[in-house]
């Protein structure tokens, strides 16, 4: 399948361009399937040396437990550097998505936390795993996407991007977000994971799990913080997750896909987009675009 090879070549080129042109780059590592592919490409790009880029995980403290286990295991196996950051203010305020809602939780524990982490470490290039096929407002995103000193994205003032000639010039305090997987689709990601034998969090595979209905989604009873009235409704179901985020905000789908082949087959037949399970995208119309302007990835 030569198209995966071509996507790989393009992504490796982008990753090397970041390291060659920026002083202090970082890769956002969200532990999901796209991050797994990005990390794999990062190691390939700089072989035989260790990648000269640390990983940053913005931990909202509400991620699935299996995600955190997987993160720590992978980092050890691959010998890469990982920075974990949680918003100290959010910790103080005891932000809880069940109490404060998805909007406040996402804003404080994700968007604000990311901005704070970037300010603290002064990263000038932040590599992220977003893909253009994920959502309409992403379709026009550049591969090297410029952010002002307040980390804001201005959809009307983006640099034209021609050929593979990326403009990497920025002033002090400004930064770029770089998306090496821009041209990959969800199907490409899974096919590549299969072809390259890349480990992913087991939550992607169907299994009997204890889930309960919450705000229109089936969420996993992942720990004791789930309120009693939701727990009461919990039932065991054969489910898997198409995307991974904070467990109270990520809906499971009923599925029997237990391995990569079955996931790929299911995807080809799927009638809904992968973001459908994400509660945070539905707050309001155009909400992804709005979040991006504010500094969300």
């Amino acid at each position: 399948m030569s198209h995966l090879k071509r996507l790989e070549e393009e992504s490796i080129y982008i990753l090397r361009e970041v390291v060659a042109c920026f002083k202090n780059p970082v890769m956002l590592y969200s532990i999901g399937k796209d991050s797994s592919v990005m990390l794999h490409l990062l190691i390939k790009a700089f072989y035989p040396q260790k990648p000269p880029v640390p990983l940053l995980h913005v931990d909202t403290l509400w991620k699935f437990r299996e995600m955190i286990e997987f993160r720590d295991k992978r980092v050890k196996e691959l010998g890469v550097d990982l920075i974990v950051y949680s918003n100290p203010e959010g910790i103080k305020m005891n932000i809880n998505p069940f109490v404060h809602g998805s909007k406040i939780h996402t804003d404080i524990m994700k968007t604000q936390a990311l901005k704070k982490a970037l300010d603290k470490y002064q990263f000038d290039a932040i590599i992220g795993g977003a893909r253009r096929d994920e959502e309409k407002s992403r379709a026009k995103e550049r591969i090297f996407s410029f952010r002002d000193k307040n980390h804001r994205w201005n959809p009307k003032n983006q640099r034209p991007e021609l050929w593979n000639l990326f403009n990497t010039h920025i002033n002090k305090k400004e930064s770029v977000r770089v998306f090496p997987l821009s041209n990959w689709t969800e199907l490409d990601i899974w096919q590549y994971i299969k072809e390259e034998n890349i480990p992913v969090v087991p939550l992607y595979f169907a299994k009997k799990r204890l889930v309960a209905e919450y705000e229109g989604a089936e969420i996993l009873i992942d720990d004791d913080r789930v309120p009693e009235e939701i727990k009461k409704r919990a039932k065991e179901k054969m489910v898997r997750f198409r995307t991974l985020g904070c467990y109270p905000l990520t809906g499971a789908i009923e599925s029997n896909a237990k391995n990569l082949d079955e996931i790929i087959e299911e995807m080809k037949l799927s009638k809904n987009s992968e973001r459908e399970g994400r509660l945070i995208d539905k707050d309001q119309e155009g909400s992804m675009e709005r979040k991006k302007i504010e500094g969300y990835f």
Partner: protein, 459 residues
Amino acid sequence: MREDLLRFITCGSVDDGKSTLIGRLLYDSKKIYEDQIQQAKNETKKYKNSEDEIDFSLLVDGLQSEREQGITIDVAYRYFSTKKRKYIIADTPGHEQYTRNMATGASTADLAVILIDARKGVLTQTKRHSFLVTLLGIRNIVVTINKMDLVNYSKERFFEIVEDYKKMFEKLKFSLPYKDFHTQIDYIPISALKGDNVVKKSKNMNWYDGEALLSYLDNVKILKSNFTSFRFPVQYVNRGFDFRGYAGNIASGEIEKDDKIIIYPSKKESFIKDIIYPINPENKTFQKSKAITLTLKDEIDISRGDLITKEGEIQPKFNDSFEAMIVWMDEEELQNREYILKIYTKETNATISRILFKKDVNSWEKIESKRLRLNDIARVQIDLSEKIAFDFYEKSKKTGSFILIDKITNNTSAAGMIVGESTKHKKKRIYSPSEIALNQFIREQFPEWGCKSIEEIEE
């Protein structure tokens, strides 16, 4: 199963039905999901005050600010795949003021789909779109004549437009800066709205014996330049204990172990010691790839931006001046100062020393001009602060294209394609007395810097 990647650009004006065509391709190839369709249905009600089932353009138009204005203002990329190919569509708006976006979308495309409204025929914008995509080096064009349902699926009307387009294109060829530019142009009568000849062959046009658009795209052979000389821009020097490799993507040609190579700009020679392909960390296997790391047999000082070529093959031009077609992309017009020129992985200082002529994108006439503004296209002479290796764009896109970056705003001000060698000598830089004194001072006080004298440079 052979699966390949085809990138194409769609060019059409506001009412040509471009969004409908793309929406139809995505919808019929099942790339649009039900939740997205539901969202588009809700928005159809909101923005169009229409109870129509679904407005395809809302399905594909991305940003809220644009939707509210009802226009597409930027390049959007869409994805779908068939059993044969993966497709990336660069969806660009057709308004005159958006030459910049069309050039952007065309720069990475292998093929252009040009839409013509069957009622209107070949218009000024058809000329503009055809000029821009060929200027950017696209050799495969599919002219889709849309809204055939509104001309009663008329065979005569279709062939009339085909003839008009052919005549137009004959003239266009002479206004391109390329000498040996072969193209493949095909024509398909469609109705994007009704679905005729988009994914399925239409029963309404039995007189048409060609393929529907999608199967055409699945089978079309992409014409490329026949340039096969090895070009490897050094992107990143990968250093470690006891290791020094040169990482980058092969721009053209092939290389093997023990091949003799030449490094520009130093013109030093060496041999390939090893080619390192990206190794899978999970199982330590690798496949051939364009993304490689080279090691050499000699210890030579090589840095990012150097170009490695193979001995015995066609060598690049090596000069500090050339002529190029450029598209001005900055809100701020051309200034009489230095810009940063980025060509492959190399950056250097550049000035536009001469505007030979500006080109009208609609009439293709040459216009004399001293100024360049947003969306202008011009043939210019570019002078550089040092000699660099380059090829003509027609031969090698990757070593013949560049961007100009504004040193003050950091904007991408222009994109260019190298089309010729300079006919006039580069203007000599004039040094002020203080610069001459500074040069002398450095040479006397810091001989260990190895600073050249100004006279030496001027020779």
